[in-house]
Amino acid sequence: MKSYLFLAFLFAVSIKMPAAPSADSSALQVEVLIFSGRPNPVFTVTDPAEIKEITALLEGMPKQVAPAATTSTEQPKLGYRGLVVANLSSVSPELQSLVVNHTSIQVKRATVPPTQIPSIASSALATPSAPELRVDGSRALENRLLTLARNKGVIDDLVLSHITSTK
């Protein structure tokens, strides 16, 4: 109970509606798909070295051979539904966006840099993605992004604990 009260206090003094980040031509924009009423937590990764590490991590993952027909539509359920990453950086410019959900990663590649639209999720999920799936058996990419989210303070231990429980 005390921890809830403390979290409530922290929330009360810090509550803001996390607006979608402004377009940053040198960043990865990451949205944690988790909330229903409040806007989802959103953060950016701007360190080029870190962006390179993340994209290298992705490219090192095996492609799923002959992937089954799939839809990029986010499933309507309560709680954690994965992460969406929009690549607005100059690193791997053909890489447009990722949808990360546990061991499955959907990759959308583009020939031109994406333009910013209000919701990161809307850019990655609104249209059918190319049928490229990567398999992240150890969930290394998901864990890395969630750790970044926690370190940047956009999710707290309460939320992280829920996400961990869904794995």
Binding site: A12, L33, S36, G37, L78, L125, A126, V159, H162
Partner: protein
Amino acid sequence: MKLLTLISAACLCALGVAALPAQSTSVPAMTSPTTPSGLVTQSGSYGSPYEGWRAFDNNDDTMWISAAFQTPAWIAYTFSGGQQRVVSYAIKYVNGSIRTRAPKNWTLQGSNGGSWTVIDTRTNQINWGGVEERRFTVTYPGFYSQYRLYITDDNDSRAGVVVISIGKLSLVADSSSWTTPAYEPWYWNDGSTVQYNNNCYNYSNNRRTDTFAQPGRASGAMYTSITDSEVSRGAISDGLEPTTAWGVSSSGKTKIALVIWPGADFHWYRQDSDGLWSHKPGGTQATNVDSSGALITNPETADRGPYTEFVGYFFTPSDQVQGQGHANIR
């Protein structure tokens, strides 16, 4: 009754006005500009005994008297419970032997927080008695949360408003339009603007705002923490009415339910016209199944994932047209 009044169908029949379907909304007698609910504003007043709320205080011995030589003179009321569809109104003049202060030319206007829309125009209203009430049918009724009587001339021979006096302003709202929507998820599941910018609060209130609506934001009383009491307070401020699992709205309002993920988030369900429940988790699609894939017959027992606390039920003024609810949300 010196009060901005929503008159029931029974009252309308007694007054000889065309009967409307039953509705139960009422506005209590005002005891200040903001109590017990809503907000009374005016262009000006002759002094503190004659402020605008006196036209709504259910007392025939008091009145609103405008500031002198101020054109236009207007008096407005903002409903705390969201939009109302006012179909007629009445002005009661009670200034005795002084007849010049009765309104002559005016418009009735409606607004939802932005610009004002003229919904009725009256000109050359002369020969008022010392105590007389005149009733008017609104020419272009619509759903508005704010109504304003906008007066450009009185019965004084001098041009413009010299002084306006109004003993009572009554509004008659037809709330028979409240209708519970059907489960029609395709409106919300467009995979684009509607889906991504409207959340569970939008869906449960059946009102598209494209703002990811938050309880209390429209009414200036947004929750400050994710607790039962705070989110409920915000919703009530937006005009939602608490009820029970067995509650039935006599005016046809839609029942919705609030659940909480303590300290993290809130979520809303709505009961559709078929009696089953549906919801829209954030920017995802609207659905009528819970987190286990089961049809939602009871939000209290549905699989709600981390939203473990069931808070309670509320009524919201809705419409059968998807996205066209009338709660005051943003």
